[in-house]
C-alpha cells in the first residue's frame, strides 16, 4: 500500500498529483499487480481533499488500464509500468552530460541551461502533438 501526499507548490492539481504518484510507484516497483490502492475514504481523511478528486484520479488510472475498481472492495493494480531499462538510460545520460559540458563551456549559467532545456522540451513536445 502506498501513501499519498500533496505538494501545494508542485504546480500540479491535486488529482494530477495522485495520478502521478501512482504512476511513479508503478514505475519504481513500489506497486505491482494485485496491490490495492488506498481506499477513497482513507485518502480523503488523511489528505483533507475532496472525494471526487480521488475518484477522478482513480478513474483516469483505470482508463489508462493500470488499475481496476472492484465495487465494494477497492481499487487494485492490474498492470505494471516498466520504466526504460538501465541499458537505454545510461547512454542517454552520457549524451546529456556531454551536452551540459558544452553549454557550460559556452558560458551559460545553471539558470540559463535550465531555461533552455525546459523551453526546448516544451517546444518539441508541442511539435509532437501538432
Amino acid at each position: 500500500m502506498i501513501e499519498f501526499h500533496l505538494d501545494a507548490r508542485s504546480g500540479l492539481s491535486p488529482y494530477q498529483q495522485l495520478v502521478q504518484q501512482v504512476r511513479h510507484a508503478l514505475r519504481l516497483g513500489l506497486l505491482t499487480e494485485g496491490d490495492q490502492l488506498p481506499k477513497v475514504k482513507d485518502v480523503v481523511a488523511t489528505l483533507a481533499i475532496n472525494p471526487n478528486t480521488v475518484l477522478k484520479a482513480y478513474r483516469e488510472l483505470e482508463h489508462d488500464g493500470l488499475v481496476s475498481a472492484r465495487p465494494g472492495v477497492g481499487t487494485f493494480v492490474t498492470a505494471t509500468l516498466n520504466g526504460a531499462s538501465f541499458a537505454v538510460l545510461g547512454p542517454l545520460r552520457q549524451d546529456l552530460r556531454r551536452w551540459l559540458g558544452k553549454a557550460r563551456k559556452a558560458g551559460l549559467d545553471e539558470e540559463s541551461i535550465e531555461a533552455l532545456l525546459m523551453s526546448t522540451f516544451r517546444d518539441s513536445a508541442r511539435e509532437e502533438i501538432a
Binding site: G11, K41, V44, A45, I49, N50, P51, N52, T53, K56
Partner: protein, 293 residues
C-alpha cells in the same frame, strides 16, 4: 440536479443593502467553495439559504424547497455559521440531545462516535472548549442531522493550522461517506483548492466566475509577450485582465482552445491567482462567465 438556485436575490437591512440581484445555481453532489471580498454578500447568501434570514427581493430554492418554510426543509439543510457558535452553558451531551430533539433524521450513533473519536468529554461545557473543538462540535451536529446540503460560513477562519486540517479531514470524510453536498465560504483559497471541486467567486453580490475547479484551472492561461493591443486576440479568448508596460503585455485569458500564437509565453495559474484576478477586476466589461461541464 441543483441544490441551490437563487434568482435576483437581495437583502436590505434598515439602511444597508447586504445583497443585490444575486443569481446563481449550485449543482448537487459537490463541494462548492464560495470566495469573494468581505462585504460581497457571502454570509448573507448562506444565511438566507439556511433559512435564518428572509430575502427582501428575489427567490431562492434550496434542495427543492423554500428556506425556512418548515421542519421538513430545516431537516434537509445543515448550517455551521461563522465562528461556529455553540451554547456555552450547555455540555456536549446536552448539545447532542438538543440536536436529537430538533432533528427527525438525527444519527445519534454517528454523533456519539464522533465525539468519542475527537476525544471530547461529553460532560464538558461547550464554553470551555478550544476553538478547534468548538468547530468540531458544530460540525458534528451539522453532520449528525444527516442533511442533504451542509452550509459552512468561514468554518476554519479562526483555527490553527492543525485544527483546520483536522476539521477539513472530517468534513471530507463525511462527504465521502454520506455523499452530502457542501457549500462553504472561505478566504483560504489553498484549503479550498484541496477540498472543493466547484468554485464560485462572488463580488458585489454578483457571480464573477463559477465552475469546476479542474476546468477553471485548465482553461485559464496567463500570456505574456511583446506589447500589443488586446483587441487583436482571437474571439474565443475571453480576457479576464490585461496589463501593459511600455514593452510588455500580460493578459489573463479564459479559453477552451489551445494558445497557438508563438509570440506568447503561456503559463498556467494556481487557483489563488485565478481567484485574485477575478476579485481584483470586478469591473471587466464582460458578464460573468459560466463554465459548464
Amino acid at each position: 440536479m441543483t441544490v441551490l438556485r437563487a434568482q435576483g436575490l437581495g437583502k436590505k437591512y434598515k439602511r444597508k443593502q447586504a445583497l443585490t440581484g444575486c443569481t446563481l445555481e449550485i449543482e448537487a453532489g459537490h463541494v462548492t467553495g464560495l470566495v469573494g471580498p468581505n462585504g460581497a454578500g457571502k454570509s448573507t447568501l448562506l444565511n438566507i439559504a439556511a433559512g435564518m434570514l428572509e430575502p427582501t427581493t428575489g427567490t431562492i430554492e434550496v434542495c427543492g424547497g423554500v428556506p425556512g418554510s418548515g421542519p421538513e426543509q430545516l431537516a434537509k439543510v445543515g448550517y455551521v455559521a461563522q465562528n461556529t457558535p455553540v451554547y456555552s452553558g450547555l455540555t456536549i451531551e446536552e448539545h447532542l440531545r438538543f440536536g436529537a430533539h430538533l432533528n427527525p433524521g438525527w444519527d445519534a450513533s454517528l454523533a456519539e462516535k464522533r465525539v468519542e473519536r475527537l476525544g471530547l468529554d461529553p460532560k464538558q461545557q461547550a464554553g470551555k472548549l478550544s476553538g478547534g473543538q468548538r468547530a468540531q462540535l458544530a460540525l458534528t451536529i451539522g453532520i449528525a442531522k444527516r442533511p442533504e446540503l451542509l452550509l459552512l460560513d468561514e468554518p476554519v477562519a479562526a483555527l490553527d493550522p492543525l485544527a483546520r486540517r483536522e476539521f477539513l479531514q472530517d468534513l471530507m470524510e463525511a462527504v465521502a461517506e454520506h455523499g452530502l453536498s457542501v457549500v462553504m465560504s472561505s478566504h483560504l483559497v489553498n484549503d479550498l483548492e484541496r477540498v472543493c471541486d466547484h468554485l464560485v467567486v462572488l463580488v458585489d453580490s454578483q457571480v464573477r466566475v463559477i465552475g469546476e475547479v479542474e476546468l477553471l484551472l485548465a482553461t485559464h492561461h496567463r500570456l505574456s509577450g511583446p506589447r500589443r493591443d488586446i483587441d487583436t486576440l482571437p474571439a474565443d479568448q475571453h480576457v479576464v485582465s490585461a496589463k501593459h508596460t511600455d514593452r510588455q503585455t500580460t493578459v489573463l485569458v479564459r479559453t477552451e482552445a489551445p494558445i497557438l500564437d508563438p509570440a506568447w509565453t503561456v503559463a498556467r495559474l494556481g487557483l489563488e491567482d485565478l481567484v485574485l484576478e477575478y476579485m481584483s477586476n470586478p469591473t471587466a466589461a464582460r458578464p460573468a462567465l459560466e463554465v459548464l461541464r
